[in-house]
Amino acid sequence: MNENNEQMRGAVVAGIDVGGTFTDLILLDGRTNGRVHIAKTPTTLRNQAHGVIAALDQTDFPVGEIDLIVHGTTTTTNAVLERRLARTGLITTRGFRDVLELGRRTRPQPYGMTGSFVPVIPRNLRLEVTERMEASGRVREPLDEDEVRVAVRALLDAGCESLVIHFLHAYANPAHEQRAADIAAELWPNDHITAGHALLSEAREFERGVTAAVSASVQPILKRYVERLRTELAGRGYRRDYLVMNGNGGMISARLVTREAAKTVMSGPASGVMAAAYTARRAGFANLVTYDMGGTSTDVALIRDAQPAVSNEIEIEYAMPIHVPMVDVHTVGAGGGSIARVDDAGLIRIGPESAGASPGPICYGRGGTEPTITDANLVLGRLDPHKLLSVDNPVTVASVAAAFADRIGNKTDLDGVEAAGAVLRLANLKMAGAIRMVSLSRGHDPRDFALFAFGGAGPLHATALARELAIPRVVVPARPGITNALGCVVADLRHDFVRTVNRPVADLNRSLIESVLSEQVAEGTALIDEEAITPDSITVLHSADMQFVGQTHLINVPLPDGAVDAPTLQELFEIAYEARFKVKLPEIRANLVNLNTSVIGQRPSADLSILIDPAGRAATLDGARTGTRSVWFENGGWAETPVYARDRLPLDALVVGPAILEQMDATTVLEPGDRATGDADGNIIIEIARETTR
């Protein structure tokens, strides 16, 4: 342990997450008598740095005294989704410039012969040069270096700022890509040159090419942003290096992050999942379904044995795959703003249309007229109309209820409240179904899991969803609304490696497996050594992607350590396969496709017990009670329900539902019979009442 870390122990660490609507900050002052500072400011879309600085200013904390700032950003995500990309050119193998436009022969939806697709790099900026590798990695046609120079100059003349070199089979032999990149470097005025194999060394030209193209076309944007923020922070007195959250759930120096800019595309969701894993592990829960419900969508991830699932196959929108290891977060198209309608068969439908932030739900008073999930919560007494954030012009509950009666009730023979209840119930059912499809349906027993609810709306629905999913308990963290920012504070340094082996297990020898894994460890350790901060300790995780010979799906098999022989590999695979699919196939041989290693530099642990000021807690449950109000429940209808200030609840209090727990940025609903207790970190753990028959 070096001096640097000694400082970190009592350090001041700030996590700042820029979301779609709000920029959240959490600052943990680990010094003696230090406390927690929290800020929430509107996100500044054009230059996110302004919102970040505003959040820092809001704390009144002297920025010069902050030891480490960790940042989650949606700069690259927004750039991709809105196609506000740097002008980027592609140089590729002759005959294949359209790979990025043709994709894999799909359409956006199974039914309906419409839809469109805009390639990341337009056709006139995709140029071809003579060269060809065979699948074996043998050179079939040498690289024509003059053609590379001509193409580079043409793309510069066309105003390109960033360049992708993407050749067929470069994963098998990168020599041509490397040489072309060297040639380009002599002419290109900046270092925005991306070679396809460097980001992702596996077969599949469309996926590898899109990954490289996305990375290259957000790289200049990310770089400008990172530097702008560095300047702004320096202006406030912060002169150290800051860290940026990567989509793999680890963080990386702002100096290094632009090298693989595509990895930041899932920055925000990944930090939320990391915070969930960290918080729940301290609370004693290793298996989680994370449930982050916001205004327009809901993010769901699965955590087993305290490790978030990582995927190399994230598709951030239709035909936009980004195949680098990232936390496997699934987005479900339902959020607080999802609109409820009655279709022409008289059935109630929730979404997919969303009122978004503007006009937003009716209750925001911004001109919204269509009832949303948030409006249903308001009508049913689950949300307090006086405590809504983001209201422009107050709207009465009665008029929101009237909208339910008018738009839903009239066509379904329900009154306004019944209609709102129907919307709530169906929304929960829809979310539960979607969550089950992306998590538990993949071979998991819900009874082994806890539902970790966060985001502005997560705790409102969590108990109902857990009941629907047969998950026995819910964890609501101390600060549900700033979980992503907390993820920045608790995340580790992390580097992931994938190496394709693609051989039958029977043909493997122990030394091959060991040498691949140990090389990956060495590479990861070297990268962590480059960082300005030194971790407490380094953890290494190994896994194998395997399949039965003839199969195309991979399943990820965690390996106990880097010394595995073939029979053990076979056995581990068979156990994992049976657990997942409930099918045994002793007749068929297994294949090892990839060996993976994650090298994780652990940061000193953060003290979460100060997230809610212990001094503010009441001595008794009654002391935390702020009143009662009438709340509607699926079982039993309206009930006069006690309301508690969450931050005032005694740590050892037991709250039995029905009850409402309110705090600044979230409302937690306990349904009748649910039992909530607190823990030392300020989490609320809710045991879900067994469903009563109906």
């Binding site: 005959g95 079939r140 067929l168 129907a422």
Partner: protein, 582 residues
């Protein structure tokens, strides 16, 4: 009117849908065959105990299977009733692939399982998976020149592959002795059965939670509401007869086009589809069985109205006259391997072409509409083994009221991805020399068709035989409302440097290739929508800039002239040639 409230109804609807989606997921995730696991060439659903009508079907199922399994399930129920088939016990699963018993082609293998409740059948669960081989004269089953179903593979009537939960080793042995790569099929069989068991578990949970009577009532109500919804959509169309047509290039044996003639009569809230005047049954494998013809109509209507829920009710207002005596109602022993992949898409095209005038906002000009099946089978001397590879390809979609057609879209009846070139070159002794957007192929229109692709594949080693089952070689996908047809499919085989074009254009079997020979394919572009002379010249200019059309094509197809460098529209000249052309 039902006594059920709107909430319970919606809740049960969502629950039944979830059952099917979970079956789809379970099937795909554990299946062996890439056709099922990766290409999702499978479907799962719930069917009524009385007549097999579809109660719910998974959203992720291959579109061509819309409604198909209700025909096979209905046939099974009839066969049990009249003693041609043994009645089920709990835990039994039937296997069936007979095309004439409510099926598609032989490769689509159906499993059917009863869900028992208090000793009686409550409903049936069924799924279909496309097996990579089912025996027959060619690997994979797509013979372009079969003349009887026996040449196409093993045909199974409904028999119990699982009895009381256990697989019958004798039936399994018969199947394995008649198909290629049999050792891997056990993986698909277990996956297919496991998916049904997942479904059974979920159905029983729904019954336990809401009560059998409520669920039964909800199913009936959902059916009638879907029917009502479809009727409303139909009622909005003007009464009248709408005519459409489509051509299959040939049957693969006799070089003559097969005509699909369609008259759709809209009267009140019903559409009646009459295929009278279509070609008689054909010698080659481009026949369709009745179940596939019906499903193709349903599929096309679902593409037009994708938000009407998928249950038997949605099909009630769609009356399809049995096309007796035509190739759309083939009987034993007519060969049928082309029905699911190609004829179904032509039927859908006939529906689109009939309906686009009536529903110009909802229907597109014709899409490429072929699965683009190129199969290459041979021996790889370097690896000392035989191989069969498939290159399935997409094409352009039709222009439509909202936008230009999609480029390289999947077949009308599929949703599967095409394989990566790098993976193909790893697995087979071939080299792709080109894989590109096919310039100029999108049919001109106010909203143009999407573009097809063109690829060129060289055989690197050994000898092989090339087979093609494609379509739209004779006529391109139809333009609509003044739009022009997309470019037709082109196949050229280069043998020893000499070009060979298949006489049937899009279909031929076993063309011999040696190392160095090449296959070149250009797939169809989508049809154009609306008069191309009304396309915004700036959009045409953009298309030129992207290299989608040449300057000459812009002038010929869209009557747009540019400055000599092609960088700006010459407005005066454009106005002149547009008025001259009009």
């Amino acid at each position: 009117m039902t006594t059920l409230d709107a909430i319970t109804l919606s809740v049960i609807e969502a629950g039944l849908q979830q059952v099917c989606d979970e079956m789809d997921l379970a099937f795909s995730r554990s299946a062996f065959s890439p056709v099922i696991a990766e290409a999702n060439d499978r479907s799962d659903g719930i069917y009524s105990a009385e007549d097999g009508s579809v109660i719910a079907q998974g959203i992720g199922g291959l579109p061509v299977f819309v409604g198909v399994m209700q025909h096979s399930t209905r046939t099974l129920i009839e066969m049990i009733a009249d003693g041609r088939c043994l009645p089920p016990d709990e835990g039994d699963i039937y296997i069936v692939n007979d095309p004439y018993l409510g099926g598609t082609h032989l490769m689509d293998v159906r499993f059917v399982m009863p869900v028992f409740r208090n000793g009686a059948i409550f409903c049936w669960l069924s799924n279909t998976g496309h097996w990579p081989d089912i025996g027959g004269s060619v690997p994979g089953g797509f013979s372009a020149s079969a003349t009887a179903v026996e040449q196409e593979g093993l045909r199974l009537p409904p028999v119990k592959l699982f009895k009381a939960g256990a697989m019958d080793p004798e039936i399994y042995a018969i199947i394995c002795s008649n198909i290629r790569i049999a050792d891997q099929r056990i993986g698909d069989i277990r996956a297919q059965a496991a998916a049904l068991r997942v479904g059974e578990d979920r159905v029983l949970r729904i019954l336990a939670r809401y009560g059998d009577d409520t669920v039964v009532e909800a199913i009936a109500e959902l059916r009638s509401r879907a029917a009502e919804q479809m009727r409303k959509r139909i009622s909005a169309i003007d009464d009248g007869v709408y005519r459409g047509k489509a051509y299959v290039d040939s049957d693969g044996v006799v070089d003559e086009p097969l005509l699909i003639a369609l008259a759709v009569e809209k009267k009140g809230d019903t559409l009646t589809f009459d295929f009278a005047g279509s070609s008689p049954p054909c010698i080659g494998p481009m026949n369709s069985v009745l179940a596939t013809t019906l499903s193709s109509v349903y599929l096309a209507m679902r593409h037009i109205f994708p938000d009407v829920p998928l249950n038997a009710g949605a099909f009630e207002p769609l009356v399809v006259k049995r096309p007796e005596g035509t190739f759309l109602d083939a009987l034993y022993p007519r060969p049928v391997s082309g029905c699911a992949a190609e004829v179904s898409q032509r039927i859908a095209e006939a529906v689109f072409s009939a309906m686009v005038g009536a529903l110009p906002q909802d229907v597109t000009a014709a899409p490429a509409g072929t699965s683009g099946n190129f199969a290459l089978g041979g021996h790889d001397p370097a690896r000392k083994r035989d191989f069969v590879m498939y290159q399935l390809s997409g094409g352009g979609y039709g222009g439509n009221a909202g936008e230009d057609g999609l480029t390289n879209g999947c077949s009308t009846i599929g949703i599967s991805k095409s394989p990566p070139i790098e993976v193909m070159e790893q697995a087979y002794p071939v080299l792709y020399r080109r894989y590109a957007l096919r310039e100029g192929s999108g049919g001109p229109g106010r909203l143009r068709g999407g573009f097809g692709i063109e690829y060129e594949i060289e055989l690197l080693r050994g000898e092989a035989r090339a087979s093609f089952v494609m379509d739209h070689g004779r006529y391109g996908p139809q333009g609509a409302l003044g739009g022009v047809d997309g470019a037709p499919n082109i196949v050229t085989v280069w043998q020893n440097g000499k070009a060979h074009v298949p006489p049937h254009l899009s279909k031929e079997q076993d063309i011999p290739l040696v190392a160095g020979d090449r296959v070149e394919v250009g797939t169809p572009g989508g049809g154009g929508y609306g008069d191309p002379l009304t396309r915004d010249p700036q959009q045409v200019l953009h298309d030129i800039e992207m290299g989608y059309y040449s300057l000459d094509q812009a002038r010929e197809m869209f009557a747009v002239a540019t400055t000599p460098d092609g960088r700006a529209v010459d407005a005066v000249e454009t106005a002149r040639i547009r008025s001259a052309t009009a």
